[in-house]
């Protein structure tokens, strides 16, 4: 029981990171109908910007104050947003109106480019930061097993929920959010109303990248080590989460992220840690075969 509770805490905090990344996949899919395969690497860039900011602030190795952590988070969001904007501008916008596979191929190229760029610029070795947020609280003790809710896990939950709440308000309550939904439902009509659809698409990438940066920052705080390759696995899992939740659905992406985090954690705890990725990707295949619209996705309606 205590063991399961511990897995629940671990799974939820991991799932929140996946959920933040998955939102970026699903937003871009909703608005331009493509899978941005470079998104996982944008997350990785976010983690690296966080790391560089940590080093610049000189807070590596020990416990960091809340002000410094906030600065790290904001710097990561700002710089990574710029990356997201640039990726769309350079690799996708020139291909709009081209055949459907063109931006997809371009996205894979962008993914490889970002990985190699970070590998060359930052080196291939793993980068440790030490524990920036140490400690935690013991929720319960039974049969010699302590259920720990660490401060960093609390931080992940609080920050993720806060960011997602702000994001939800943005999408549902602001003119920008309505313009984004209009573009998602009928881009041509949105333009006919005077919406600059290219600008909305750019902003979608910027917001998606900023959310991925939050995930990257949380990942760094949680694990304390990153390398240039973390974007691949995290990206594919977040993509799985977006598909499981129903690609195009924002609540679905968060739900999918939590489920993938939980499945992976419980699988590692009760079966085999080596096979945890197999478990996550089996979900992807099962979803695509038996429930292609996902948990909260819409049935695709043929337009007349």
């Amino acid at each position: 029981m205590a063991y399961a509770l511990q897995q629940l805490i671990n799974g939820v905090s991991l799932g929140m990171i996946y959920g933040l990344i998955a939102v970026g996949y699903t937003m871009v899919y909703g608005i331009i109908g493509m899978i941005n395969f470079a998104h996982g690497d944008v997350f990785m860039v976010g983690a690296f910007v966080s790391l560089i900011t940590v080093l610049l602030l000189g807070i590596g190795g020990g416990a960091a104050g809340p002000g410094a952590l906030l600065l790290v988070l904001l710097a990561a969001m700002a710089v990574t947003a710029l990356y997201g904007w640039t990726v769309e501008r350079v690799a996708y916008r020139p291909l709009r109106g081209s055949f459907r596979l063109a931006p997809l191929i371009s996205a894979i190229g962008m993914s490889i480019l970002l990985q190699n760029y970070v590998q060359v610029a930052q080196g291939a070795r793993v980068k440790p930061t030490g524990t920036l947020v140490p400690g935690g609280v013991t929720l319960m003790q039974s049969e010699g097993f302590n259920v720990q809710f660490s401060y960093v896990q609390m931080l992940i939950c609080v920050v993720t929920l806060g960011v997602l709440a702000g994001f939800t308000l943005l999408v549902t309550r602001t003119p920008l959010g309505r313009a984004m939904r209009a573009c998602e439902q009928d881009r041509k009509m949105a333009a006919l109303l005077g919406i600059d659809t290219d600008r909305i698409i750019s902003l979608t990438f910027v917001i998606g990248a900023a959310l991925a940066a939050v995930a990257g920052c949380m990942y760094l705080l949680r694990y304390g080590v990153i390398d240039f390759y973390i974007g691949f696995l995290a990206g594919v899992k977040a993509f799985t989460a977006a598909v499981l939740g129903g690609i195009g659905s924002l609540p679905g992406a968060v739900l999918g992220g939590l489920l993938i985090g939980l499945i992976e954690t419980f699988w590692s705890a009760y079966f085999s840690a080596q096979y945890k990725d197999v478990a996550a990707f089996s979900i992807l295949i099962l979803t695509l075969v038996f429930m292609p619209t996902g948990l909260l996705g819409r049935q695709e309606v043929e337009k007349v």
Binding site: R178, A182, A191, L193, G194, D196
Partner: protein, 238 residues
Amino acid sequence: MNALLRMEGVCAGYGAVQALNDVSLHVDQGEIVTLIGANGAGKSTLLMTLCGEPRARAGHITFDGAEITALPTHAIMRRGIAQSPEGRRVFPRMTVQENLMMGAEALGQPGDELPRVLELFPRLRERFAQRAGTLSGGEQQMLAIGRALMSRPRLLLLDEPSLGLAPLVVKQIFGAIRRLNATQGMTVLLVEQNANLALRLAHRGYVLVNGRITMAGTGAGLLARPEIRDAYLGGAAH
């Protein structure tokens, strides 16, 4: 006389298909002008070309004296043109209210037109909080026109507002267009397959055949022409 909208020698099309051929027409301030023609004659393409999508391959389009031929769609619409397009294209997963507000908000306007639009189409008031995808065809058409009106356009483009609707609903919608023009002086360019209705409503009309304008005249004048009656009104017996 400076026309509000003028097209001169416009050619346009999709891919290898040339849908408009050397089209010239004008719409003056305060007029209802209709464009009639058979299915596939290029009527919708003409309205879309005015809005920059597809772009005119030749010729000039001016609005209020300024050239708009090469502007992107959103920039054209921001000059005071609004369209209720073919197929209505309401945002199905937004409420009626949100759809209407989109019409104003996209241009940074507060939506002061809302009371007037709801007065013109009281049905929209009854459906205000409902998702647009759940509306009937007639209600969606009212919503599409209402949404276009929300930005207080100087030129309203209407693409087949009667398509697929019951005669009673068509009557309501055409009545609303007439009222808009009479009370607010709204300038309207109306594309219709229902030539009889359109020519009775409009001050002037153009006939489009295979992407070319073949006839022009007053609404009543065109209605009286035998070749129009034969081709578009189902013969003299109609």
